[in-house]
């Protein structure tokens, strides 16, 4: 137990939760429920990964879900006015990247703190979105497009789930095996030392915000395809849940530490919790309460265990002195 990392403990908790829900929640293992969970998981986990990478640099991206919904709306408008799917996707991608660039310029080049920048851009993107859509939802896509959200590979694995797994692997590789990925962690733990060690921190930060907007774009494609419509508040419920998932997954909110697998575990835990509690007949809003309680409880446990360890090491020191 002692040699297990934070993430493995979370993984064990996930397995335990899954077993618990399978035993006690009626119909948890039914194919319809499992299918639902598999379809809901990708958009959430892709957004959470984007948030995690930003948090690694000691930042936060409050505009994340609004980038997603803005690019979703652009895709929807392009599709419903008859452009081909690749063209529409390209338009959505460009919009998302433009949003990411805006965040990146303010954070990386000007150096304003990320929470303020993304607070501003969040309101800005929401406003642009509202002025385009007037709050209405846009629908009417070709059925080929909806396959991204509802289709299966080989009639078994959802397309969106495959996209999610690919992105999880890509993010892991990017963070651990590339120069950029390592610099992301370094910027998060000590930006000044990183700068003095010869790394272009502002370029690294710029790519972080571009990366997160790219992920938001993918999530928006999956969401629009699944709902068959796009709307201004699409995915906005995920915003704070993404921060919660990253933190529960062991990512330090002050930056510098965090693992992809931890975030993925946390997202799965939230998904199982909300589906399972729903099946158990627990009110939807109690799930929010549970998420908050878990978030705070995990951090209290972290604190208590670090306090205990400190005390232990002091005792050991005292012993060795004696």
């Amino acid at each position: 137990m002692k040699n297990l990392s934070k993430e493995s403990i979370l993984g064990l908790f996930l397995v335990g939760l899954f077993v618990f829900m399978s035993l006690f929640a009626p119909g948890f293992l039914a194919s319809s429920n499992l299918k639902n969970m598999m379809f809901q998981l990708p958009e959430f986990s892709i957004l959470a990964l984007a948030m995690m990478v930003v948090i690694l640099t000691a930042g936060i991206d409050l505009s994340l879900t609004f980038v997603a919904s803005l690019s979703g709306v652009v895709i929807a408008i392009a599709l419903s006015s008859g452009y081909s799917i690749p063209m529409a996707l390209l338009a959505g991608l460009l919009v998302a990247l433009a949003c990411g660039l805006l965040n990146g310029v303010f954070v990386a080049k000007i150096g304003v703190s990320p929470i303020l920048v993304t607070l501003g851009t969040m309101i800005l993107f929401e406003g642009i979105n509202l002025s385009i859509t007037k709050g209405h939802s846009i629908s009417g896509f070709p059925s080929a497009y909806n396959l991204i959200g509802n289709g299966y590979f080989f009639g078994l694995v959802p397309v969106s789930l495959v996209i999610m797994i690919v992105l999880i692997i890509v993010t892991t590789v990017l963070l651990n095996k590339t120069k950029w990925g390592r610099s992301v962690y370094m910027v998060g733990s000590n930006p000044i030392a990183t700068l003095f060690s010869g790394i272009n921190t502002s370029r690294a930060l710029m790519w972080v915000y571009l990366f997160s907007s790219l992920m938001a774009f993918v999530a928006s494609v999956i969401m629009t395809a699944r709902y068959n419509s796009a709307k201004v508040d699409m995915g906005s419920a995920y915003l704070l849940q993404c921060v919660a998932a990253a933190v529960l997954g062991g990512t330090q909110i002050q930056g510098g530490y965090g693992k992809v697998i931890g975030t993925v575990y946390a997202v799965c835990i939230f998904q199982i919790l909300s589906s399972g509690l729903n099946l158990l007949g627990v009110h939807r809003s109690i799930v929010d309460v549970m998420i908050g309680v878990i978030l705070i409880a995990v951090l209290i446990i972290n604190y208590v265990s670090s306090q205990l360890e400190k005390r232990k090491s002091i005792k050991e020191q005292a012993k060795s002195v004696a």
């Binding site: 000007i110 704070l240 929010d288 908050g292 309680v293 209290i300």
Partner: protein
């Protein structure tokens, strides 16, 4: 004099005055007594919360649970009011219970931030999730109507002194109280000391944890008062009415010149930020600009304000380090 002119409050005030001149040119309805007091009345809740948030932000913290706490206190006092008799004492009870509830919520936040050392954004995020979930579960999102309130509360809500709503006076009383606390009490000065340089502040003997507890408790106290004002303003309890409001509060504080990394910020600046947001919203309506564009304008102003602020700050810092010593 030069220092006053160069201060950040002056530049916000200048923008505000410019905006007012443009608006009164565009719409004759803008520069009227009733419209201006309406702007103040409509933004009293925002103002009260923003003043509390200023203190939190000065110490380098943040509180995203304010809107949830305010709603929670409003729901609690609203349901209490149903049982209260129609007498002056009930008003007193409300004014005791609401701030107390707020302080309790604030102390929970403060305890977790100061003693358990969880980052403020995570604590308040979690609290927000818990509180708003609990409110929704308990109330089912159902309104409480003003018909259930004691009529003394309705009288209070409609009260006017010199033609100005009592809610505006509450807002200014809160501002005056906070200004006094920040200026003339030890704990108020400690707030600035912590924000300016927490390490040196701790070295000179300021109890960081105590200050953090105080700041969050004070935020809760103001959230309690804001809950009363909100209830009096809309004359109903809407459990969902303030969702997302915390970000507007933070925006007002930031526009008012407080630095999110701590250390800087004034009550006066925040009030200017609140009024700027309020006037802008009012002006866009009066100028017949589509309300959908409001958020675009607000978002752009936040971006401009924070980056202008940051560039100024960086310039000041680089001047600091370039002091040449004459031999």
């Amino acid at each position: 004099m030069k220092a006053i002119l160069k201060s950040k409050e002056m530049s916000i005030a200048a923008i505000l005055i410019l905006l007012c001149i443009i608006l009164s040119y565009l719409s004759p309805a803008f520069f009227t007594f009733s419209n201006l007091t309406d702007v103040l009345k409509a933004n009293a809740v925002l103002g009260i919360l923003a003043i509390g948030m200023t203190l939190v932000i000065i110490t380098g913290g943040i509180d995203v649970s304010v809107a949830a706490v305010t709603s929670a206190v409003a729901v609690i006092t609203g349901h209490l009011m149903i049982y209260l008799p129609d007498s002056f004492l009930s008003l007193l009870v409300i004014f005791l219970v609401a701030p107390l509830c707020g302080i309790v919520f604030g102390l929970i936040n403060g305890y977790l931030v100061a003693k358990v050392e969880i980052p403020a954004i995570v604590v308040t995020l979690g609290m927000m999730s818990i509180i708003s979930g609990a409110i929704l579960y308990l109330t089912n999102g159902v309104y409480v109507n003003s018909r259930n309130f004691p009529s003394i509360f309705i009288d209070f809500a409609n009260a006017k002194i010199l033609g100005i709503s009592i809610l505006v006076y509450i807002f200014f009383a809160v501002a005056a109280l906070t200004w006094y606390v920040m200026k003339n009490t030890v704990i108020g000065r400690s707030v600035f000391a912590i924000g300016g340089n927490s390490k040196s502040a701790i070295r000179v003997g300021i109890d960081f944890k105590k200050v953090q507890m105080f700041v969050f408790a004070y935020m809760g106290f103001l959230a309690g008062i804001a809950a009363i004002v909100q209830t009096a303003y809309i004359k109903a309890i809407d459990p969902n009415g303030l969702i997302g409001f915390e970000l507007i509060v933070i925006a007002a504080v930031v526009i008012g010149g407080a630095n999110i990394l701590g250390g800087r910020g004034t009550v006066f600046g925040t009030i200017l930020g609140v009024i700027l947001l309020g006037v802008m919203q009012n002006g866009l309506i009066l100028a017949h600009i589509d309300t959908y564009w409001q958020k675009v304008v607000v978002g752009s102003i936040i971006l401009l304000a924070v980056s202008y602020d940051h560039i100024q700050y960086k310039r000041a810092q680089s001047q600091l380090s370039n002091i040449k010593v004459e031999a």
